[in-house]
């Protein structure tokens, strides 16, 4: 047993400590801040690798440390952390992607005046996210979860002088808070039914058989409430609206939070408490899982469609993130936990890669984000172009060499095997085409075609391209452990040994999806090859394009329903307050005043006369005393001495 297994809390603690350290640096110590953040991340990565190694030794490894936080009455509130393949894989992904993004940020944020603060927040975020991953208690997870939310709020609103950034930060915070309310209620309910918040506790945890037995029929409710939190954090429909707006933050933040890690927390949460979802499954189907699937499907398709009609390079990626998260949810819903997590890990790498690539493009074009104003960057930014292409292949789901392809394939398999209906499967296949379509569209707009208003574009510095290359290589290497021929990661996550089987490579489904991807890319190539200022789709279907371009008017829908409703309620309350309650209050106060007038008359004539006499006497006495109060220290000292003398006399007289 390695020492890190028992001290796994060190992994989140290190970035948190470094974050505090950086916060105390003066804002001119830029190199120190960046260095500290990167060193903290490297240490966390090292610890994560150390923690990863023991999990390889035995399939289904799980180490749990729990301790009592405090006790009220006879109820002990216990917290703890857990190390299992799920956590270990997430740790590696978060720290590695995080490290790349930290390094990238050094270049991207080079000109910013709040450089040190940025790195403090990044480190803080990293620590909080690692805390989510290793938590063995729903409460600890919730605490870290909220810290992640806080970090996200701080980072989205990092450019506080921009009103749009501040609004986006607020929106993200409030929207996720709606989900977190559900999460919190779910937690309370879980504690009520099972009496513990620990996941694993030597057979007594909430996720272990005895705990699940106690939960019994309320599992659906608990699972759905907890799923609310996941919906909020992972940007699932109907709470997805904050995620595209969150692109107001600096691009490394988008890469770190809104692609690779934080949004993955929702998926991770569902995977972590999966036993609650699948409790009492008939044929692998429970009501809660049904909800998960429906939400996932709706989210995935809707986001892909919206992505087709966006012109902001980061916004397209944001919607693709939403759709990929929906895909993961579907995977979890149909029972493919390992597949979902694998996609989550792969997605972490290639989406960070894509976002950083987009960041590199934006940086090279002096903060231009509109893809209509880009083009022909293929030769100007070769490294960015190559790595971006790899990321795009991953996202589009091209199998064989790209991890994203294999994991997406796996998810499609799982949906196909769902016993209830084939509908999710078909919809996901449609999603594959759409993904290929919008990604190719973006590629063509940005990297091919004529140069548009990109007169002084330049390739980014080495410190920014190196992370891109590392992430690209990682996403390709990851493909090796993902092939169906040697499904090592799948086996690792499921806690069973991996077997080599080349036969698994040849499957009809694989060719189907390959065909679909090729169709999507080809279609896009045909459509957008000669695209001019107006989008071809907009020309063909202006109504539909506007509908999609305006994000299906969901924000507006919320504006006119929920927000309008609360406004009406507020007005109503205001009216009630002003006229009804105020009237009551005024009535009472009038009564009080009348009584006061009465008692004043009584006071003045009956009582005060006596009191005045007494006070006059007291005042005369006070003047008498005050005359002795000369303010002279020595007079006081003399008085003390005389007092001492009197005491002496008294003593002598008594003795």
């Amino acid at each position: 047993m390695s020492w890190i297994v028992t001290n796994i809390w060190l992994i989140p603690a290190v970035p948190l400590a470094f974050s505090l350290l950086i916060l105390f640096l003066s804002s001119s110590r830029r190199a120190a801040a960046a260095g500290a953040a990167i060193i903290g991340q490297i240490i966390a990565l090292g610890f994560s690798i150390l923690a990863f190694l023991p999990t390889l030794q035995a399939p289904g490894f799980r180490a749990v440390q729990s301790f009592t936080w405090f006790t009220f009455g006879d109820q002990a509130l216990r917290l703890g952390w857990v190390l299992d393949p799920l956590a270990a894989a997430m740790l590696i992904m978060i720290t590695l992607v995080g490290l790349c993004i930290f390094v990238f940020s050094v270049g991207y944020m080079a000109g910013d005046k709040n450089f040190t603060r940025f790195f403090a927040y990044l480190s803080f975020f990293s620590g909080a996210m690692l805390g989510v991953v290793i938590a063995n208690s729903l409460l600890l997870l919730f605490v870290s979860w909220e810290l992640v939310g806080l970090a996200s709020y701080l980072l989205i609103g990092f450019w506080i002088d921009r009103p749009s950034a501040a609004a986006a930060a607020k929106k993200a915070f409030i929207t996720t808070r709606i989900g977190d309310l559900g999460f919190f209620l779910g937690m309370l309910w879980l504690y009520h039914t099972s009496g513990t918040l620990l996941f694993y506790d030597n057979g007594n945890g909430a996720l272990e058989p005895s705990g699940l037995l106690k939960i019994g029929s309320s599992a659906t409710l608990v699972a759905l409430l907890i799923f609310c939190g996941a919906v909020g954090k992972s940007g699932q429909f109907p709470l997805h609206v904050w995620l595209p707006d969150a692109m107001e933050g600096p691009t490394p933040v988008s890469a770190l939070i809104h692609a690779a890690t934080m949004v993955a927390a929702g998926v991770f949460l569902v995977a972590r408490v999966y036993p609650l979802f699948s409790l009492g499954a008939v044929n692998g189907v429970t009501p809660s899982l049904m909800v998960v699937i429906s939400i996932g499907v709706v989210t995935a398709l809707m986001a892909s469609l919206i992505a087709l009609a966006q012109f902001d390079i980061k916004r397209i990626l944001a919607y693709s993130t939403v759709s990929q998260l929906g895909l993961m949810m579907v995977s979890l819903g149909v029972g493919g936990v390992a597949a979902g997590i694998m996609h989550l890990l792969a997605h972490g790498f290639f989406k960070a890669l894509l976002f950083l690539g987009a960041g590199s493009v934006i940086h090279g074009l002096h903060h231009e984000q509109d893809i209509r104003k880009m083009g022909g960057l293929r030769w100007i930014m070769p490294v960015t172009f190559l790595t971006y292409t790899i990321g795009m292949m991953n996202l589009s789901g091209v199998p064989f060499f790209f991890s994203g392809g294999w994991t997406k394939e796996e998810i499609l398999h799982r949906t196909a095997e769902w016993p209830l209906s084939r509908l999710p499967h078909y919809l996901m296949l449609a999603g594959v085409i759409l993904t290929a379509l919008y990604m190719t569209r973006q590629m063509i707009y940005v990297f091919f075609g004529r140069k548009r208003e990109t007169s002084d574009a330049h390739e980014s510095p080495r410190v920014m391209t190196m992370p891109l290359i590392i992430l690209a290589v990682c996403s390709i290497i990851l493909a090796i452990v993902l092939t169906p021929a040697w499904p090592w990661l799948h086996a690792y996550l499921n806690g069973e040994p991996a077997r080599l089987d080349f036969g698994a490579l040849i499957q009809p489904m694989l060719f189907l999806s390959l065909l679909l991807v090729a169709a999507g890319i080809g279609l896009a190539w045909l459509m957008y090859r000669n695209a001019g200022e107006t989008d071809p789709l907009a020309r063909a279907q202006p109504g539909l394009f506007r509908f999609l371009g305006q994000k299906m008017w969901i924000d507006e829908f919320y504006e006119h329903t929920f927000i309008a409703f609360s406004r009406v309620v507020a007005h109503l309350s205001d009216f009630l307050d002003r006229y009804f309650w105020d009237g009551l209050v005024n009535l009472f106060s009038g009564m009080g005043q009348a009584f006061a007038v009465l008692s004043k008359g009584f006071d003045d004539h009956a009582i005060n006369a006596r009191v005045d006499n007494t006070t006059a006497g007291a005042r005369r006495f006070g003047r008498l005393i005050a005359a002795r109060h000369s303010g002279q220290i020595q007079a006081y000292l003399g008085a003390i001495a005389i007092g001492m003398l009197l005491l002496l006399v008294l003593y002598a007289w008594l003795a």
Binding site: Q634, G638, A641, I642, M644, L645, L648, V649, Y651, A652
Partner: protein
């Protein structure tokens, strides 16, 4: 107990004290105060409390007296005209002395001769300070620190904005 030593020290000490209390010039009074301190330290030696005597010299002569002299220098422009003999103070002081004397002379339970004793070594004092008296010691350290900082803040130049 050495009677000669006792009487000589008593004369010097009380003369010094009278000088300290009555001399018109502040500096002379402060220097007479030093004589009193040294005299009391001599009494401590006579009573077998060498360590306290040394501490007395160290603290009072080396530190407090110098402090008083510095303060006199820093406030030298203020020459306070004395108001002549303050008979009230003299009478109170004499009365207190008389009362104390009367009490002392009338108390019969006091030891006549000092008992034999082992001289107190520095080591014993140190051990007491570090065991039974460790908390008072810490408190005194704290008090001294606070006094130091407080005195510094009190005498710091006030910034006059012009």
């Amino acid at each position: 107990m050495n009677a000669t030593a006792f009487i000589v020290i008593a004369i010097i000490t009380i003369a010094g004290a009278l000088a300290a209390a009555t001399l018109p010039k502040l500096i002379h009074a402060a220097l007479s105060l030093v004589i009193v301190f040294v005299g009391i330290a001599a009494y401590f030696f006579l009573l077998g409390a060498e360590f306290v005597g040394l501490v007395q010299v160290f603290v009072y002569v080396g530190a407090v007296a110098v402090l008083i002299l510095f303060t006199i220098l820093l406030t030298r422009r203020d020459i306070v005209s004395e108001r002549g003999i303050n008979w009230g103070g003299v009478i109170v002081a004499l009365a207190v002395f008389g009362g104390l004397l009367w009490i002392i002379l009338n108390t019969t339970s006091l030891a006549v001769l000092a008992p034999q004793f082992e001289p107190l070594t520095v080591k014993q004092i140190g051990e007491s300070l570090m065991t039974d008296y460790v908390w008072p010691l810490q408190c005194v350290g704290l008090v001294l620190t606070v006094a130091l900082i407080g005195a510094l803040i009190l005498v710091m130049e006030e910034k006059i904005e012009r």
